[in-house]
């Protein structure tokens, strides 16, 4: 570490780190998803909250919002770029295309989750 090189074993750790970080990004919408599904349930049973009509509406709206978020948000890529200028890490075209790839895959995952929201909305509504 002190010699300034990042040894090869570190490479694996770095990959594991990236996986963990990706999970962090995905966790937020998944938690929202479960909250929307779970929190109203007791109210539906106890106080007759119109679960079947209202929860799908909420799910649908949040799902659409999520599509927009995924499409517009850069997932912090810009911040990383700024930071690299500050630290003095040179960014090559290769790095940029890697960032784009990573950004794209995160976006697709968000799209997936957003679709899950909407699919669930329909499922709850019709079933």
């Amino acid at each position: 570490m002190y010699q300034g090189d990042e040894p090869e074993e570190l490479e694996k750790l770095v990959h594991a780190d990236a996986r963990k970080a990706r999970l962090k990004y995905l966790l937020v919408p998944i938690i929202i998803y479960s909250l929307i599904l779970v929190v109203p349930a007791p109210f539906a049973f106890e106080y007759g909250f119109p679960y079947r009509s209202d929860v799908p509406t909420i799910l649908f709206i949040v799902g659409v919002l999520l599509f927009f978020v995924a499409a517009w948000w850069d997932f912090g890529a810009k911040k990383v770029l700024n930071e690299s200028v500050r630290i003095g890490v040179k960014i090559t075209n290769d790095d940029i295309s890697y960032m784009e790839k990573q950004g794209f895959s995160l976006m697709m995952m968000y799209f997936g989750i957003a679709s899950l929201f909407i699919a669930t909305a329909f499922a709850v509504f019709y079933i």
Partner: protein, 737 residues
Amino acid sequence: MEEVKEVESKEFTGNSVMSIKNLSVNFKVAEGTVNALDRVSLDLAYGETIGIVGESGSGKSTFANAMIALLPENAVISGDIVFEGERLPYLSNVGRKEKKRDVKILDAKLRAIRWKEISMIFQGAMNSFNPAYTIGKQLKQVFQIHTDFDLDQINKKMKEVVIKAGLNPSVLASYPHELSGGMKQRAVIALALALNPKMVIADEPTTGLDVVVQAKLISTLKKLRASGDLKSLVIISHDLGVVSQLADRVAVLYAGRLMEIGSVMDIYLNSRNPYTLALLENYPSMRKARERVLGIPGTPPDLLNPPKGCRFAERCKFADSICTQVDPPVVQISPGHFSACHFADKVNVKTAEKKYSATNDILSSHSSGGLPLIKTVDLTKFFGLRSSAAGSIFVQAGKKSVAHAVEKLNIEIKEGEIYAIVGESGSGKTTVGRLLLKSIEPTAGKLFFNIGEDNVLELSNKTLSNEKIREFRSMSQLIMQDPYDSLNPKMSVFDTVAEPIEALKLEKDPSRIEAMVSQSLESAGLSPASNYIFRFPHELSGGERQRVGVARALSVPSVKFLLADEPISMMDISLRAHFLNNILELRQNRKLSIVYITHDMASARYVSDRMLIMYLGMPVEEGETESVITNPLHPYTKALIQAVPEPNPTWKPERTGIIGEIGSIVNVPKGCRFYDRCIFRKDICKDEAPPKREESGHWYLCHFSQSELIVNSPEEMERDVTGIKTPQGSSINVSGR
């Protein structure tokens, strides 16, 4: 200045590229007229380099801008500027109401002269590249506008000038932000050389660069002069050392007047003018060692109301009553050497030395038997791109993304000690400062601070209570960097100085706060404090602003530790002298410990008791200041010392003893950090980290003892001179890795 004009125009008839006669420039401002230049005459011969020196505000830039007719609209000009036998067009028309069409024609004429015939390197030009375009594109534009070359010719020409300026052609593809300061300045020089002009005007071309980079740039400029690529050159600088290296003749300006002009030898070795001698006497040179430098007392006159008689009279040690009444005559000392002074026959190096020697006590070396105030153990700071979730996703696995800003720093700073940290920009000095002030947390290692009575805080401990942190903060302060930028223009002196007191909530009672502010203003040398307390920055001179910065750091009475990060880099000689003496006094009177961060060896030698040399985040040498300076052990220290300019034309900086420019802290060499730039390197240095060695009472970090440090081969030595054949990692490597 009549006499100068006559004699000079005789001397240079027929072969002067530019001849300036009785040039005066007045700026019309709301308060009246600023007399920025007063009847200045000067001839520039073909192939000649003339240096223009003077303190800030002496009119140097105004002079340069006048030479290419680029003065702002509020300027009123009189006198003549003749370029290649033709008067610069606009001067003859001053005062007349011009028709739009005339103005247009004039403008077109002038544009043709600028660039093609005369090109200008503006003060601070390296920061004015358009960040959105590559260097190549910006250079191409010059050719496209001013020549009718086709694309192939342009590309060939571009490569040519870039190589001439000491750069690798690959910089053409890079954006300004990818280049270091030195490389940008070289790109500016390439721009200036692009159209092969007859005359180049360079306004402060090396100001703001590190000493090593500056020394290399000077040797490039010298080479360009020798090869004839630079024909006639006007070089403007407040740094007498830089000018002495390049100029054939030197003109000294003060408050808009020409004080002395002569060959470089005349001016530097045989000056006959009190102002020139004062400048030379106060130059922070390495050779002066620890002789006290007092600066030139007072400040330059207000050019809105220039004083009668000699403009230097108020500050001149030779002044007599005649000086404040009658304009000094221009006296010819020898052919080509003129001095504007009533006593030019009596003033010389010897009499000046006598005048100044009354004050020339040698600073005693401060032996600090004090307790350690600050101690670091393997203090390390890395900045990593991967430290955030976004970073670990977006940064490629194999990418080196950790900046080794500071590594394994072990220092001890004693009470009442001034400790200098020296290195080029990029060596990690500022990060050390931020660590010591606890404005960032270390990645590893320990930092201790003695808050008194042997109560030692471990600042690197993350569980330190807020109360303790506050206690530390009330004992440590930062002196802000540069007096022009650091003060908020909307805050009065009182508000600025009281800020730390209020931030630390040390006092609520306004009258007590006022007393504290007054006291710190006075201990920073601003007395009576009541004169300053309600002023705003624009109502203060540069020196006063600097003192306000110091007062701010002192306003908290419990302060024990001051950090000054590059405090004098923007100051001219008088300001620096004041500031450095102020620091010395403070240490004396208040027993403060001061960490002085700088790239300037001469000032570090002047103030500090011990010094640490850093390179790429690594401490490489440490010891008593005198011992390090007189007997540098590490190759980097040797080079740094060699690069400090001397105000003496006989000084030869061709060999800087160092290769290329500072590398990157992200991609550090595996073995010795200095490997890429060392002229003594051997194979072992590449992979093995060097050990600490002790010699002559202090340590350095290297595989070899002094007798083993031998330059490998002449070619190795050559590389340091050309600046082009730099090794991997430094100046070639700009367009990605």
